[in-house]
């Protein structure tokens, strides 16, 4: 690195999180520290049950760590009030979960508008922005359809539109292709990485899919609640090349 590193948009310091009490206590995270730079894509990989989702939830401020802290733009959010954290998530974060979590009976447009409804945006403005986002994802013609009537790939695109509609600068995706067939999965990946590059969005992807992880700028590997490996995608390509 020749340039001085940009201030990390997200920094985690020594995070721990355990579930249950006493005998049933399980330490899902046992001291995880990491930095995420603005505009980069980071893959969190590891086996099932290793603590990836737990880490993502802490980073996305959906949960609070037992110890350690999370900083956004250098600010510790552990001390922030609940409304401030809610506002932060609403205005700056976008979420893509493994399951679609679309409201079946509502239209695509209504589903995509949800973050704007939560934000308290006026109906007309909501509609305009949701339609613009759907248009960008090639779903403009599906705006009036019921969410239930779409295919899996279309649904995941709606979910991505929902994550984008509030123009976030961080998107958290937990197993975004876990529910899709390979071809559709690739399309969704192309979409996510395209957006990340075009809009300069920071992307945090939880996955155990090797291929998806390889497309990210950087990856960290978790096992039993600890980071066991960290590498740049480019470096891994080089090392793979060197190994050949």
């Amino acid at each position: 690195m020749t340039n001085p590193p940009a201030p990390p948009v997200l920094r985690a310091v020594d995070l721990t999180r355990s579930y249950g009490k006493g005998q049933a206590r399980f330490d899902a995270l046992r001291g995880v520290s990491l930095e995420i730079r603005r505009g980069e894509s980071l893959a969190i990989v590891g086996k099932s049950g290793s603590g990836k989702s737990t880490l993502m939830h802490l980073l996305a401020l959906l949960d609070r760590p037992d110890s350690g802290r999370v900083e956004i733009d250098g600010q510790d959010v552990g001390a922030a009030s609940a409304p401030a954290v809610n506002r932060l998530r609403n205005e700056r974060f976008g979420f893509v979960f493994q399951q679609f979590f679309l409201t079946a009976g509502q239209t695509v447009l209504e589903n995509v508008s949800l973050p704007l409804v939560v934000a308290g945006v006026a109906p007309r403005e909501r509609r305009r922005r949701a339609l613009a986002t759907l248009d960008a994802l090639g779903l403009a013609d599906k705006a009036g359809n019921k969410a239930n009537d779409l295919s899996g790939g279309q649904k995941q695109r709606v979910v991505i539109a929902r994550a984008l509609v509030n123009e976030p600068d961080l998107i958290f995706a937990d197993e975004p292709t876990g529910n899709l067939d390979t071809a559709t999965g690739h399309q969704v990946e192309d979409l996510l990485f395209g957006l990340q590059r075009e809009r300069g969005i920071t992307l945090v992807v939880v996955t155990h899919d090797e291929e998806l992880a390889a497309r990210c700028d950087r990856r960290i590997t978790i096992a039993d609640g600890l980071i066991v490996g960290e590498s740049d995608a480019a470096a891994s390509v080089i090392s793979e090349g060197a190994g050949r």
Binding site: H57, A82, N86, L88, N90, F95, L114, V117
Partner: protein, 433 residues
């Protein structure tokens, strides 16, 4: 989230499961329907009583009867030759005991009593017009208490109790029968009254019609002034029998401004009467008895309505708990997107309020529809004899109050499910499979 969005989402969510919502709304409907009807019944009756009291009571008279003896512990009462007589006939106004002249004197001696007049029951056999083409004789009953109150007049004036000449107030339905053109035409006319004396001889007397009155709950029959009553009562009194009265009327003097009789005056005289082993009742008291009975019936009906509403509130709790359960992920998602716990609470409790509003508004509307129909049928049929009585009075304010109360019950029922939703952890909700 905007308040309007919270309201529209809550409304839409309420209808997401139509059957479930409809059933819950129905149970509220039953409660609202009943409660609206019972409050309307209460309002109708109390409105009638209030109007009657306002139009009939002069406010300065007490109806005095011997206090009813309730004492059963001391065995038979010793005979006192100067004591009160027992009535040979049952008298609905008083107990079996009659007052004597000593009692009248002690009433008159009470502070605040101006004068006292005994009410003497008279029986008139027939009435006929003396100056129209019709000379058919009609039966007539004279209201013994006509002297204590005013009549609800259609035409003419009230009786003059102190007048020398005999006066009557006729019930409205005698106007046609006696051949007068209308109520106004009857005023000032002379009628002939037939009655039997104590010696069974048939006698007649004449009286002037001073007024025509509507029938009321308090007074049915014709009114006669003191002069006419005395004349007939004297003729009907059994010679040699000491005077005895079931009821007397005490006219009060007022201590208020312009000599008006205050509540304190009435209360004071009542206490003094009680000391003399007598009981005093105002017109309000008499109507109050009727009102108390009706209020009792209304109370029981309202209790049923409230039981229905309590049952309905469990229905709301159940409906909303199911709704929260079904929408766990949606709640988690909205929370992940930054929706505050307060808004989530608002969303679900408002859903309960929407259900409450639907049930109560529909119930109240149905009650108004059905009740108005019942009311007009009743007014034309069984209650035709009581003009001025609207059986069910739907006051917009009390209907609104019923609706508001049920919405409040619905809101309170929604608190538990809504709190559960608000406290849900977004992660737990999103893990839900």
């Amino acid at each position: 989230m905007r308040a309007t969005d919270v309201i529209t989402s809550a409304t839409r969510n309420a209808f997401r499961s139509k059957l479930r919502t409809t059933l819950t709304v129905l149970s509220l409907f039953v409660g609202a329907f009943t409660l609206t009807l019972t409050t309307a019944l209460g309002a109708g009756v109390s409105d009638y009583v209030t109007k009657q009291v306002a139009s009939l009571s002069t406010g300065d008279v007490l109806l005095v009867t011997p206090a009813t003896t309730t004492d059963t512990t001391e065995g038979p009462t010793e005979y006192d030759p100067d004591g009160r007589q027992q009535s040979s006939q049952a008298n609905p106004l008083g107990g079996g005991t009659l007052m004597n002249d000593d009692d009248l004197d002690s009433i008159a001696a009470i502070d605040g009593v101006d004068r006292v007049e005994p009410i003497r029951s008279i029986s008139v056999d027939w009435v006929a017009s003396s100056d129209t083409s019709i000379d058919t004789r009609y039966e007539l009953s004279v209201n013994p208490t006509s002297s204590i109150g005013r009549s609800d007049l259609v035409a003419g004036a009230q009786l003059d109790q102190e007048a020398e000449d005999a006066q009557v107030i006729l019930p409205e339905d005698y106007v046609d029968a006696l051949g007068y053109e209308d109520a106004g035409d009857a005023i000032g006319r002379t009628i002939e009254l037939g009655y039997s004396g104590a010696d069974r001889s048939e006698r007649t007397t004449e009286a002037t019609v001073v007024g025509v009155a509507r029938t009321s709950l308090l007074a049915s029959g014709a009114g006669a002034n003191q002069a006419l009553t005395t004349e007939i009562a004297d003729a009907q009194a059994v010679p040699g029998q000491p005077d005895a009265y079931a009821v007397a009327v005490a006219y009060l003097t007022g201590s208020g401004g312009d000599g008006t009789v205050t509540d304190d005056d009435v209360a004071g005289v009542k206490v003094a009467l009680a000391d003399a082993d007598l009981a005093g009742q105002t017109v309000e008291d008499q109507l109050g008895v009727v009102q108390t009975i009706i209020n009792g019936i209304i109370g029981v009906l309202s209790a049923f309505a409230i039981v229905a509403l309590i049952a309905a509130s469990f229905g709301i709790i159940n409906t909303l708990l199911m709704s929260v359960q079904e929408r766990t992920r949606e709640i988690g998602l909205m929370k992940a997107m930054g929706m505050s716990n307060g808004r989530v609470f608002g969303l679900f409790s408002l859903e309960a309020v929407v259900i409450g509003f639907l049930g109560s508004a529909l119930g109240a509307l149905a009650a108004i529809g059905v009740g108005s129909a019942i009311s007009s049928v009743a007014a034309a049929g069984p209650l035709a004899a009581l003009p001025g009585l609207t059986l069910l009075l739907f006051d917009p304010l009390s209907v609104a109050l019923v609706i508001a109360a049920i919405m409040l019950i619905a809101f309170l029922s929604g608190v538990l499910p809504a709190r559960r939703a608000a406290r849900q952890h977004p992660i737990e909700s999103l893990r839900y499979e």
